[in-house]
């Protein structure tokens, strides 16, 4: 898949940047032109994502081999042929997708497209808003398609600044606090990742395709092969002190993004203060980067430690599930409730990942996708209500089902999907995650299971308080959901429904890759155990 000699992945990553540059040249008065430029850019991105989905070869595994990756683009970016003591520095522009990244690519494209329409009525500085949104889009997409660690890190950090501005300029009353908190937390995670990246860089060599000499590399795939670790280097061997340290540094970096308890405190603030569309992106895509990073980087590069830390991971997963649900139950603020429910739902992803078997892994990645779509819906639903009533206090409402029937209908799809009703997508992924986890950690999974009941409890309780009961006179004149809002919600509802009935549409894409990932981690850890 190429266009003008440039590969599909480059297009899908950089189309938003092109859109951003165009928007910067649009005169200030012409707001419609800005909106439509952003819409077209993200629509093109979505089209490419769908094309990638249909052209994706389901049999290739990916994960650790370049042959298994699809739509690979590799070009030399930085090549410093240095003096002897410096060695050679080589950084590639290396993109590719496999079954782990394709669901995320589709999710990112879909959520970004919807986010543009959810931002249609931004009251101030629209130009800056759309430009930042598109820059953020490029950063997100870049993270999911890059296979060179340097490139990955650049994309990872590119997201920070636009997110800071999007929350800080266009957010709610406590936006400044929320924005800086988000920024500092994620930067702390990032510098830890950076140190781990450098340590990996100085441990791994790969042959130069031209001369065959072994040079240090940022190639992620090379970092997954224990044979590439230079003997005596910092991260060589198995289960060494330094490897533990690097794994933990990476883990904290990713955990902040997920967010895993106790690194989660930035999330409620950021979600509540961010404008609707940005909450949608935060919950829909950004949180997935943490778990994606763990699966793409931590697991295959440190297989023995992934196994070693599987049990603690399951433990924090349970804390996330139960603690998130309990916090959600205590909230008065509609948006904060959804934010805590995100923590709880991401716990299910972690639980699935910790199981180290195919069911768990499939459940985890499917849950990443499903949570992206379902939580996006929930935030949109809250946004619709807030735009009309200008309050998010759950107890202030009541009987909205009478005044806003269409709205209530679409909302209940999101709510029931979130609590894992069979027939909707959330059920399948939760099911798989628990199924996988039960085989590995029986007791822990049993402890976690009540989390589902708690989820049902707070979801239904909220639904009852807001939509059922005596109608509040104050809101009797609220207009029902309009066409644009429906346009943002309905596609997501369709995805939720379709994946609930026929999940194979997405499971097909990831099966071989995730099977391979599980095998790879297990083999890697046992092979390294022998070395030890």
């Amino acid at each position: 898949m190429e266009f003008l000699g440039i590969g599909a992945l480059s297009w899908i990553t950089f189309i938003p940047i092109i859109g951003m540059i165009l928007i910067l040249f649009v005169p200030k008065e012409n707001q419609n032109a800005m909106k439509w430029t952003a819409a077209v850019a993200t629509f093109l991105q979505l089209v490419i994502a769908v094309m990638i989905y249909f052209n994706f070869d389901r049999s290739l595994t990916g994960i650790n081999t370049q042959e298994g990756m699809q739509l690979v683009e590799k070009a030399s970016w930085i090549d410093i042929r240095g003096v002897p003591w410096f060695g050679r520095i080589h950084v590639d522009y290396f993109l590719g997708v496999d079954g782990l990244s394709v669901p995320m690519v589709i999710l990112t494209a879909l959520i970004s497209f919807i986010a543009v329409f959810a931002s249609w009525n931004i009251p101030k500085a629209l130009k800056g808003y759309m430009a930042m949104l598109l820059l953020l889009d490029t950063g997100m997409m870049g993270v999911f398609v890059s296979l060179d660690f340097f490139l990955f890190y650049v994309f990872w950090e590119v997201m920070l600044l636009p997110m800071y501005f999007l929350i800080g300029i266009w957010g709610g009353p406590r936006r400044e606090y929320a924005a800086i908190k988000f920024f500092l937390y994620t930067l702390l995670g990032s510098v830890l990742i950076l140190l781990a990246v450098i340590a990996l860089y100085f441990s791994v060599t790969a042959p130069d395709p031209g001369t065959g000499e072994r040079i240090y590399t940022f190639n992620m795939l090379a970092m997954m092969n224990p044979a590439n670790y230079e003997p005596g280097s910092l991260l060589a061997g198995a289960g060494t002190y330094w490897r533990h340290l690097a794994y933990i540094a990476l883990f904290i970096g990713f955990a902040i993004k997920v967010p895993i308890f106790p690194f989660h405190t930035w999330l409620p603030d950021a979600h509540v203060e961010a404008p609707t569309a940005i909450s949608v992106i935060l919950a829909g895509v950004l949180l997935k980067m943490g778990t994606y990073g763990l699966l793409r980087i931590s697991y295959p590069m440190f297989p023995e430690l992934a196994m070693y830390y599987a049990w603690p991971l399951a433990l924090v997963a349970i804390i996330n599930i139960i603690y998130g649900a309990l916090c959600a139950m205590a909230q008065q603020d509609f948006k904060k409730l959804i934010a805590y429910s995100s923590i709880s739902h991401m716990g299910i992803v972690l639980l699935g990942m910790s199981a180290m078997n195919t069911q768990g892994m499939m459940g985890a990645v499917l849950q990443m996708f499903n949570h992206g779509t379902i939580t996006a819906m929930l935030f949109l639903v809250v946004g619709v209500l807030y735009d009309r009533a200008h309050t998010r206090d759950i107890d202030a409402f009541g009987g909205l089902a009478i005044t806003m029937p269409k709205y209530t209908g679409i909302m209940s799809v999101a709510f029931f999907a979130a609590l894992g009703l069979p027939g909707l997508s959330g059920f399948i992924s939760e099911m798989f995650s628990f199924l996988g986890a039960f085989q590995t950690f029986r007791t822990l999974t049993i402890i976690a299971a009540p989390g589902i009941i708690l989820t049902a409890a707070y979801m239904l309780w909220t639904l009852q308080r807001v939509f059922l009961g005596q109608p509040n006179e104050k809101w009797a004149s609220l207009p029902d959901i309009n066409g644009r809002e429906l346009f943002t919600l309905v596609p997501l509802a369709i995805v939720v429904l379709v994946l609930g009935i026929y999940p194979s549409l997405l499971l097909d894409v990831m099966t071989s890759s995730l099977n391979h990932l599980v095998e790879f981690v297990k083999q890697g850890s046992s092979a390294l155990a022998v070395v030890r």
Partner: protein, 510 residues
């Protein structure tokens, strides 16, 4: 007898002549200094003329320096080295001086004192000359003389705006601290001189230390005294006390010059003096590019402590600043701390990382100061509060400011990230992991105060009635001159890395 003396004389004359040929950049600056002064006296009515002449003179000296590239030679009987390392710093200082002259041409602060413009220009040239000499100084005498030349010119320049009381205060503080630290350094030098039996140049010191055994306590005392002297120049904690006051009081152009060029020259002396004097050049069994210290004399541990103190204190205090110039002063202290980390590792990679950092730092720090100057020219204030809503009043300059600050905080895709990356890489390569960790935490702290400014620029609304601020084309061109490299070097950094790698070579070892 007579013939022998003549021959000796002839050899000496030949040597001096040959040395003079390699001394062309410095000679150019000396002549420029005189011409700028004379022109100022003759054409009293056109003081800007001498500034233009000074600018041209500096450009010419850069051209001569570029033509020296590749030379590795010691001139004036081991007084000054002309090697890639010195040339690197000369180019850095020269380029910085050119940028400062461009700043000055459009600075209302400097241009408001038209009468003294001649002194301003010629002193700036003298300061540049001092730093050129610092870049190459290899003898203890030359080190002291060059530091004094730089210092004396900068004391005057710091108090240049006589009308402003804090400017005079700055100059006075600067000169007192300067005198004290030079005294300490001289004392250290004299101890070394005695210990090594009369070694004047750093090669002789190295030789004396590697052959004879030296009283270790005396050596440590001398080293600490010398570090105090140079630490003052690079404003390392605890020798930094003058920095915030001087940076706040001096005209922005001079502050910017001090924060980049003066610091660079200080680092040049620090690196050259320690690397050449205390390195065991006969050590075997180390990987290429690593060195070891003479007699296990671990001066690099002293520097490690210094760097931790410097960056942590600089960052923590910067958080509380409300004056942007003061904030940048503390941030420049913190950056000196980052750069000191590169010296700690005792490897060519570390030195190269420092050099890379300096190139990057040049663009981003000068850029930040320039924006401060532009805004102060229009609003008359350097308070962070006066930056409220600047993003909506002057979008272009504000976006540039954000880029400079993000780069100073070390986030990709800006050049500042590349600088930090190479410093951290050299640390991890030498397994200085705790130091890298401290550095990483520090860059998180630093983000907080940089973003505080960004917050005022973009997250707060301007005060009612504050209109748009318009800048002239040359001003915008200067901003672009600094902002484009800050972005481009973040994405394509091969040139600076190659340049820095080639510039690590200095006379004396390997």
């Amino acid at each position: 007898m007579l013939v022998e003396t003549t021959i000796e004389n002839n050899i000496m004359v030949d040597q001096v002549l040959e040395s003079l040929a390699k001394f062309l950049p410095e000679t150019t600056l000396t002549i420029t200094f005189c011409v700028a002064l004379l022109v100022g006296i003759i054409f009293r009515s056109r003081p800007k003329l001498s500034m233009v002449i000074a600018l041209l003179g500096v450009v010419l000296s850069i051209v001569f320096t570029i033509r020296q590239m590749g030379t590795v030679q010691s001139i004036f009987s081991d007084m000054i080295a002309v090697d890639p390392f010195a040339i690197f710093f000369k180019l850095l200082v020269g380029f910085c001086a050119v940028v400062i002259f461009l700043f000055s041409l459009y600075s209302s602060e400097v241009q408001s004192t038209v009468k003294r413009l001649v002194e301003y220009s010629s002193l700036l040239v003298a300061m540049t000359l001092g730093m050129y000499l610092m870049a190459g100084a290899t003898s203890l005498l030359m080190i002291v003389l060059s530091i004094e030349l730089t210092g004396l010119s900068s004391y005057v320049l710091a108090g240049y705006v006589k009308e402003a009381p804090d400017s005079s205060e700055a100059a006075l503080k600067y000169i007192i601290y300067g005198a004290l630290s030079t005294g300490l350094m001289l004392y250290g030098f004299s101890i070394i001189f005695g210990l090594t039996g009369g070694a004047v140049d750093i090669y002789a010191i190295n030789k004396a230390l590697s052959t004879g055994s030296v009283n270790p306590i005396a050596l440590i005392v001398a080293t600490l005294l010398i570090i105090a002297g140079i630490g003052y120049k690079i404003s390392a904690v605890p020798f930094h006390f003058w920095t915030p006051d001087v940076y706040e009081g001096a005209p922005v152009t001079i502050t910017a010059f001090l924060s980049v060029a003066s610091k660079a020259a200080g680092f040049a002396i620090l690196i050259r003096f320690f690397k050449v004097s205390f390195i065991d050049s006969s050590a075997l069994g180390l990987p290429a590019g690593f060195w070891s210290t003479l007699q296990e004399f671990e001066w690099n541990k002293i520097i490690a402590i210094l760097s931790v103190l410097t960056m942590t204190l600089g960052n923590l205090v910067a958080v509380w600043q409300n004056n942007l110039k003061r904030l940048l002063a503390y941030s420049s202290i913190a950056h000196a701390g980052y750069m000191l980390m590169g010296i700690v590792v005792l490897s060519d990679k570390g030195i190269a990382a420092v050099l890379i950092y300096f190139v990057v730092y040049l663009f981003m720090n000068l850029g930040a100061f320039y924006v401060v100057m532009l805004v102060a020219n229009k609003t008359g204030s350097e308070d962070i509060d006066s930056y409220r809503g600047l993003g909506f009043r002057a979008p272009f300059v504000s976006v540039a400011m954000v880029i400079f600050f993000i780069s100073l905080a070390g986030l990709p895709p800006t050049a500042g990230f590349i600088g930090k990356l190479f410093i951290f890489a050299s640390l991890l390569d030498a397994k200085w992991i705790w130091l890298a960790f401290v550095g990483a935490i520090n860059s998180v702290i630093s983000l907080y105060y940089y973003v505080r400014v960004v917050r005022n620029i973009f997250l707060r609304d301007p005060e009612a009635g504050a209109g748009r601020i318009v800048f002239t084309i040359p001003q915008i061109a200067i901003v672009l001159l600094l902002v484009v490299p800050t972005l481009v070097l973040g994405l394509y950094y091969s040139p600076i890395v190659e340049f820095a790698n080639a510039s690590v070579i200095m006379i004396g070892i390997r």
